[in-house]
């Protein structure tokens, strides 16, 4: 596989064996247009890693490609050592990858409880319903409501909650804070930290740099469908101007 990442001096202190997700030379297309160019990134077990970038940089597309929802795609995506590039989304999900999409993917015609119980269990060790209700008390109050009656924040929590039930250990989370009030963002931040403590691995797409900075161990900068830079959390302060320039803040 061509590993054309300009900057592959990974600062992660973990060893190769700890790599849960290893993406190399990933190319993707929307119909005729080539949208991902040799994307290379990795995520270690238990890490929270973000993809940062401006609108339309290819962050969501990268997540979709990893999840198997972008066709066609080429390159290498190894998850727990297994090559995913030729597998459909349903098989990838069964291997323990959970997806929280940018539109939250709540089914409006299903009740909240039906939404919560929809994703099949893919592994042992998922959250029990009681644990989910403890983490998201709002959800328990709204179990019989239909999905389309929920507020944006409630939808976001439900979207995360239903993945926690499945036992998936890697969660791809696409802009969980988008369009939400600060108090809800705070609650989502609390959840992400809880999940990290519980040993979940999270690949997070964010536009909200303040939020991302608080959560993540490492950041990748995405621009025009390429990974153009990478920062460990300890390097963020020293490179703040550079990062803000990348993000156009």
């Amino acid at each position: 596989m061509t590993h054309t990442n300009e900057k592959s001096q990974t600062m992660a202190d973990a060893t190769e064996a700890d790599i849960l997700l290893d993406v190399a030379g990933l190319n993707g297309w929307y119909g005729e247009s080539h949208v991902l160019h040799d994307v290379a990134l990795n995520v270690h077990k238990g890490e929270v890693v973000t993809l940062l970038g401006r609108n339309g940089a290819g962050k969501t597309t990268t997540l979709k490609a990893i999840m198997g929802l972008l066709k066609p795609r080429k390159g290498s995506i190894r998850f727990n050592g297994t090559q995913l590039i030729d597998l459909p989304a349903r098989t990838i999900a069964r291997m323990g990858m959970g997806y929280v999409p940018d539109d939250r993917g709540i089914f409006g015609s299903l009740s909240v409880l039906e939404n919560l119980l929809l994703p099949p269990k893919v592994a042992d060790g998922g959250f029990e319903l009681s644990e989910i209700y403890e983490l998201f008390p709002n959800i328990e109050e709204r179990l019989t409501s239909y999905g389309n009656r929920l507020s944006g924040g409630e939808q976001q929590m439900l979207s995360i909650a239903r993945i926690l039930r499945t036992g998936a250990r890697l969660i791809l989370m696409d802009e969980p804070t988008e369009g939400l009030a600060p108090v809800i963002i705070h609650q989502i931040g609390h959840t992400v930290r809880r999940l990290k403590q519980a040993g979940f691995t999270i690949l997070l797409v964010e536009q909200n740099f303040r939020f991302a900075r608080e959560m993540a161990d490492r950041h990748y900068i995405v621009q025009e469908g390429r990974i153009i830079d990478e920062f460990h959390k300890d390097e963020v302060a020293a490179n703040l101007e550079k990062i803000q320039c990348y993000l156009g803040i």
Binding site: M67, G68, L69, P88, A89, R90, T91, A93, R94, Y99, P101, G105, F107, G108, S109, L110, E114, L117, L118, P119, P120, V122, T166
Partner: protein, 295 residues
């Protein structure tokens, strides 16, 4: 003799019963169409031909292997449903990403092929299918005689409609179906095999048509064109009930059969057109249908 507006109660109840029987077929057939349209976005024009196949397969099973009605009531829908799944896999799947006009044309063409094949081998005259012995005769309800087999049709239609509604609205499998109707990509990202779900759903909708066909075999003659007329009415029923609405198909089917029956009593000349007049009115006043969701 009791009379109501110059019409005898017997005649009235007789037509109500007839209307309910027709309504039973409308309900089961439009239910199958609604299930298929809801998940696959396919207007299954072949539904009438598959209903006919259900009746014919039952007749063949009886004639060639002596299979009794009760067994055929299960086996024929399984066979025809299996054929439906093959149709979905080999012909409808490649059209999945295209406008649903393409699948409409394909299923319309399939109808002509299927009906033509059966006409070629069996002619246009009806094949007799006897009413099963246990269901012959009639019971006296006091105000009229109810042929037992007719009552059986209504009961079976109600049971199968309720079972289907329950399966779709109240079970885990049904929630997968409803979710896949809304957002198939998200459902597959949860690890659910959506293409398999689609094939099974089409097979199930087709099996409902075949089930109606087997029920029809003993009272209507089994012939290659038996599905042609009823399918037009059934399409009117699902437009009135709301495309893809399960409840709309069931309630619409029974009530429009009833309306048709009552029209026969009060104004027989209009009996075959009433449903289409109602369809035109519904399209004018609420284009998404009585139970349809506004788009």
């Amino acid at each position: 003799m009791m009379e109501l507006l110059g019409i005898s109660v017997q005649a009235l109840l007789g037509q109500v019963l007839l209307g309910l029987i027709n309504g039973s077929f409308y309900a089961v057939l439009s239910l199958g169409l609604a299930v298929i349209f809801g998940l696959l976005n396919i207007i299954n024009f072949a539904h009438g031909a598959l209903y006919m196949m259900g009746a014919f397969v039952a007749w063949m099973l009886l004639t060639y292997v002596g299979m009794p009605f009760w067994v055929a009531l299960v086996v024929s829908p399984l066979i025809v449903g299996g054929i439906g799944m093959i149709i979905e896999r080999t012909m409808l799947r490649p059209l999945h990403d295209l406008d649903h006009l393409y699948s409409l044309l394909l299923t319309f063409g399939l109808t002509l092929v299927i009906v033509g094949l059966f006409q070629n081998f069996y002619g246009v005259s009806g094949k007799p299918y006897p009413i099963p012995a246990a269901l012959t005769g009639a019971v006296n309800l006091g105000f009229m005689f109810l042929p037992i087999y007719r009552g059986f049709i209504i009961a079976m239609a109600v049971i199968i409609c309720f079972a289907t509604w329950f399966l779709i609205e109240r079970t885990r499998l049904g929630s997968y179906l409803r979710a896949a109707t809304e957002n198939p990509e998200m459902v597959s990202a949860f690890g659910i095999n959506v293409p398999l779900l689609v094939t099974l759903t089409y097979g199930f909708g087709v099996a409902l048509a075949a089930f109606a066909g087997v029920l029809a075999a003993p009272i209507y003659s089994v012939n290659p064109v038996m599905g042609n007329d009823i399918i037009i009415v059934v399409f009117a029923v699902i437009v009135i009930g709301g495309m893809g609405s399960i409840l709309g198909a069931i309630l619409g089917g029974f009530s429009l059969g009833l309306v048709e029956g009552l029209t026969k009593v009060f104004y027989p000349e209009a009996s075959t057109t009433t449903i289409f007049i109602i369809m035109a009115l519904v399209l004018l006043l609420k284009p998404s249908g009585i139970f349809g969701r506004e788009v």
